[in-house]
Symmetry: C2
Subunit: 360 residues, 2 copies
């Protein structure tokens, strides 16, 4: 088994989902629906043998298309149900595919709200094959109520103007860049894709409402080794469906630094046609104001723009505009990296390390 990408914080266990993986796309017909599978493909490529596409699927991750039997023959150990839909329902089509995957000898891991274990035919097929089921959206049972008390350690949280604007990608890119510079930095997963990648974390949108900030405190406990916890943000303070999750996470994270994520040109909020995104400045100010409740000195250190679909010139222009507007470095983590944002982070919090890296 390939080693998981992450290290679990004290008190949270690694999941140890057997790899390699087959990534299930089902009948997904839009880019955002396959973001869980895409995230795993991008961040754990060595663990992925192929993708499973249903007859109506018009999405691809560029991996070999495989049936469950072909994947098993090529060594796959687990199929990851890496599709997302509003409400997280596991429809009859997905249930039938899961049963077929189990009959082909694959373990199954799912990030949907609707649990694998809720479906008796799935449970029976797993038992019959001696296979494991992983519901990564099942939160731990022992989450405490948040307390907001100051705790040791440095923490960064990504926030966004909307869902699915690149918060997880940005957080992982920051981890990679910081680690490359010799800084201690650990990605802390709060969503199903991040948990598949890190093999630890808490699916914060699946905890009981009273415990949201407590869950954020649990995944980023007091830290005394001088390192950073980089918390994956969720939702948006301006998303009418999910803002409660975002606010609880913001309070529980007790972040020293925020990075705001945005997709320029997106016409409406995820899942809410006709509802415009907030402007970047309003959104950042609202996040900083709310974050001060538990972290009075919080600052923003960068803007991460998802410029996919834009020309390189338009992307550069968008970054320059955002940078001018907010007085922060702005980059597309995919096409430009996050080195300017990490520079700013170091400048603000660890100036001695910046000096040591000037030869970069």
């Amino acid at each position: 088994m390939i080693q998981p990408a992450g290290r679990a914080p004290a008190g949270l266990e690694l999941l140890m989902i057997p790899s390699p993986f087959l990534l299930y796309l089902g009948d997904s017909q839009d880019e955002l629906s396959v973001k869980t599978s895409r995230g795993v493909a991008v961040w754990r490529p060595q663990a992925c043998v192929g993708e499973f596409r249903g007859p109506k699927c018009n999405q691809t991750l560029g991996l070999p298309p495989l049936s469950f039997e072909e994947a098993k023959a090529q060594g796959a150990k687990t199929v990851i149900i890496g599709v997302a839909n509003a409400g997280g329902i596991m429809g009859p089509g997905i249930v039938a595919d899961v049963v077929a995957a189990l009959r082909a000898g694959l373990n199954v891991a799912s990030g949907l709200h609707d649990r694998l274990r809720n479906h008796s035919e799935i449970v029976e097929a797993a038992a019959a094959g001696g296979l494991e089921l992983f519901d990564v959206r099942e939160p731990p049972a022992d989450i405490p109520v948040g307390n907001g008390r100051p705790r040791a350690g440095m923490r960064l949280l990504t926030v966004g103007t909307d869902c699915s604007v690149g918060k997880m990608y940005t957080t992982l890119a920051l981890e990679k860049e910081m680690q490359a510079r010799g800084l201690k930095a650990d990605f802390r997963a709060t969503g199903q894709t991040g948990i598949f990648i890190a093999q630890s974390g808490v699916p914060i949108d699946a905890v009981i409402a009273d415990f949201i900030s407590g869950a954020a405190e649990q995944i980023s406990p007091a830290r005394h080794d001088g390192g950073w916890d980089l918390l994956e943000g969720q939702g948006s303070l301006f998303h009418p469906s999910y803002a409660g999750v975002s606010l609880g996470l913001l309070h529980g994270a007790q972040a020293d630094a925020l990075v705001i994520c945005h997709q320029p040109g997106r016409e409406s909020m995820r899942g809410l046609p006709g509802r415009a995104l907030p402007d970047l400045k309003t959104c950042l100010e609202a996040n900083l104001a709310a974050a001060r409740l538990t972290s009075p000195d919080v600052i923003a250190v960068g803007v991460a723009l998802n410029t996919s679909g834009m020309t390189p010139e338009a992307a550069q222009r968008a970054c320059a505009e955002a940078s001018d507007l907010l007085g922060l470095p702005a980059q597309d983590p995919v096409s430009m990296g996050v080195h300017l944002i990490v520079d700013r982070l170091i400048e603000c919090f660890e100036p001695s390390k910046l000096a040591a890296n000037t030869g970069r």
Copy 2:
């Protein structure tokens, strides 16, 4: 059985917990721990035969202290576990008492996060006695994701500087005053006490985090009869443990009017010694700003102060100060009523009805 106080909104069922009730105080040693029992005693007095106090309890509701057997002999049908603690745990002492109540022939209703059904000895004792268990903090299974789309009807939400500052009491007082003036107005419960009183509602702090605003939309669906839904607020945007609940409720409520609730002189946030409350103006402005996401024209119509423990003069002074500060009517709903707040509501939304009530 005495009729429940509330009417369920379309789509939510009445709970029909058999009354009369025995109110369980356990070993509570502070006022806030017994607020569920107190709420039921105040708002459904005709349904309460007595209170059960443990050996260490120093609280009373002024009801006759009864053992389970005595309560049963006096006609009680259900014991309400009306205690609250951080995390909502049912400790061994409470479990033992619940079993004793069942053995005495009483049904049991609980508002704790920890479910009666989670304890096998409770389930067995209920089955043995042919008695019912009610976990009112078990949310309905079919809560949708919130969508923030404008919906018909008028809605008012109470918000607060902290937990336990009188939001439920204020909302019920507004319902009573509005109904007395011939307005259609219905209390919509979002917490265990309110649900015990109304016999319907959704325990919004117990829903899965992704569905908070959806739950608020569900309990106050589109309404076409010209009446008001009065939603009981929860927590505070400034409470680091629970603000996510408050924000999701605020967005889902899509309120036309807010009433802000506060306890002058409270030294620290509920459950968080040393953490000061936000000032009233900052808190109201933050609530209005966040509420505008789904209700752009939302306004505040009043301030409800909990002045218990203050002299009448000090209470009047506190109301005058709050009124001057915010330009809103300010009253203590317990000692002064809420008529000035309802006057303001009518003035802002139903001026023709104000004219019809000038003889009041």
